[in-house]
């Protein structure tokens, strides 16, 4: 029993990171009906930028803020250069374009930061906390990760439910025509959505880097998990991305603990398949059905 609880605790931090990455996919999907496969590429790229900032300034906090800004900027650039030119309503064209961006970003990162996998310095103690006479499978760093994720989720919730900009974003996502007729500058709002998603993904990248390593391809597995989570959560549900994200982190931790960490992606895909058979519209979606 203690082992089971330990595995659960140990999965919280990675669950939070998966949730953030899924959240950035959901933010783009909600506003543009595009699954942005470049998202992890963007996160990888901005994490390299964060690493450079960290090396240069020695401050993890400045690196995090830098990644946040770089993520927003990169999101806007990609929307302007790649997605706007792809014709409206051409969803498959846009999705293929995001794959192209992913490959381009990975190639560019390989050239700018050569030398393969690099370690990201550990900003906080990542050893299990000693408390009440035992070592727990959760570290100070895990608490930082969970805290930052919770703050971001709270901030986004307030943005969407309490502000005019948030209402504009929801209206533009649900019905762009009525939004325009109501005076919402829809294309600006969409650009802001790309910036926001870019920042959220960038935070996920910076948070995961110290517990893995950073290379042009090191986040690919994160894409698999985040995509799975976003689909199971219903693609347009922020709550879905967060709760299924954390849940997946726990499942991965259990699977890795009881069997082998190599089995985790397979279990994630099994969950996805099960979801598509049992509830294809996603667990948290408002919509009745979805074609797969």
């Amino acid at each position: 029993m203690t082992t089971f609880l330990d595995y659960l605790l140990g999965g919280l931090g990675s669950g939070a990171i998966i949730a953030l990455m899924a959240l950035s996919l959901v933010l783009i999907w909600r506003s543009t009906r595009v699954v942005n496969f470049a998202q992890v590429g963007q996160a990888m790229f901005t994490t390299f930028i964060a690493l450079s900032i960290q090396t240069w300034t020695g401050s993890w906090f400045i690196a995090l803020v830098g990644a946040l800004a770089a993520g927003a900027l990169l999101g806007v650039i990609i929307q302007y250069l790649v997605l706007r030119p792809v014709k409206r309503n051409d969803t498959s064209g846009a999705i293929i374009a995001t794959f192209g961006v992913l490959i381009a970003l990975q190639a560019a990162a390989g050239m700018i930061w050569p030398g393969g996998s690099q370690a990201f310095p550990q900003p906080f103690n990542n050893a299990g906390i000693e408390f009440a006479g035992r070592v727990w499978p959760i570290s100070v760093y895990d608490f930082v990760v969970i805290g930052i994720t919770a703050l971001l989720v709270l901030g986004l919730t307030l943005l969407f439910t309490k502000t005019s900009l948030g209402l504009s974003m929801r209206a533009a996502a649900f019905n762009p025509e009525v939004a325009k007729l109501s005076g919402v500058r829809v294309s600006r709002v969409l650009t802001f959505g790309w910036a926001l998603a870019g920042s959220v993904g960038a935070v996920a990248g910076v948070l995961v880097a110290p517990v893995s390593t950073i290379s042009p391809n090191s986040f690919d597995i994160l894409l698999v998990y985040a995509f799975t989570v976003a689909v199971i959560g219903g693609l347009d549900s922020l709550i879905g991305a967060i709760s299924i994200g954390v849940f997946t982190g726990l499942v991965i931790s259990l699977v890795s603990g009881y069997s082998d960490s190599g089995n985790a992606p397979i279990v994630a895909l099994l969950l996805l398949a099960l979801n598509l058979i049992l509830k294809p519209e996603g667990v948290f979606s408002h919509h009745k059905a979805r074609s797969v």
Partner: protein, 234 residues
């Protein structure tokens, strides 16, 4: 107030509107009637900036609105209630209303919202419910309320009676007509249902295959049997 001059719209090879000229004065309802496919919605979409006209102009109080974006046209005082379900079902009643005047300052917006709630008390009762829980008639009231939230000078209504029970249609149209007189609004009402529209309209415009075939007072058009048979099918 709203002056439409020789407006034409093409969809590729299809000419949906050709040289349409209409004057819509303030304080009254002007009705555009015509069969399905006559070009009524195209006219409304061109006026609100959703489709670009091929040629011609529309001005509001002397300011040209054609060629501008919908977001800018609504700021110039022209609000469209589009055909069909034009509320956002996922948002609450109050959010739908707030959306209609989001760019305005909060005090002005809140003042208009009080007026809208006076006009449509049922919306005040349901303010925190999602729009998809409303009945058809309530939803149409919400759609009109959303448009009014921009405090328009010109209100464009595209077939508000569609799919509603006759009694509710009468209520809504009488309210629109009262709104025109009391708030000095220029209302352009598009209807397939001529009888209903001409009851509240001062002037009627008959549209057929994208062309204006007659302009006259509501009663003139209603009593012209030949015209009714030829273009309106009753």
């Amino acid at each position: 107030m709203l002056t439409i001059t020789e407006l034409s719209v093409n969809y590729g090879a299809v000419q949906a509107l050709s040289n349409v000229s209409i004057e819509v004065p303030k304080g009254e309802v002007t009705a555009v009637i015509g069969a399905n496919g006559a070009g009524k919605s195209t006219l409304m979409r061109a006026l609100s900036g959703l489709v670009k006209p091929g040629s011609g102009t529309a001005t509001v109080g002397g300011v040209t609105i054609t060629g501008r974006k919908p977001e800018d046209i609504v700021r110039l005082g022209v609000a469209l209630v589009p055909e069909g379900r034009s509320t956002i079902p996922e948002l609450t009643v109050e959010e739908n209303l707030r959306l209609g005047g989001l760019w305005r300052d909060k005090a002005a917006r809140n003042a208009t919202q009080v007026q809208v709630f006076d006009l449509f008390p049922v919306l005040a009762e349901r303010r925190s419910m999602r729009a998809d829980t409303l009945s058809g008639g309530e939803r149409q009231q919400l759609a009109i309320g959303r448009a009014l939230m921009s405090e328009p000078r010109v209100l464009l209504l595209d077939e508000p009676s569609l799919g509603l029970a006759p009694l509710i249609v009468t209520q809504i149209l009488e309210l629109v007509s009262r709104l025109a007189t009391e708030s000095n609004l220029a209302v352009l009402l598009v209807e397939q249902n001529a009888v209903t529209a001409l009851r509240v309209a001062t002037t009627g415009v008959v549209l057929n295959l994208g062309k204006v075939v007659m302009v006259g007072s509501g009663s003139e058009i209603a009593s012209d049997e030949q015209l009714r048979n030829a273009y309106l099918g009753y």
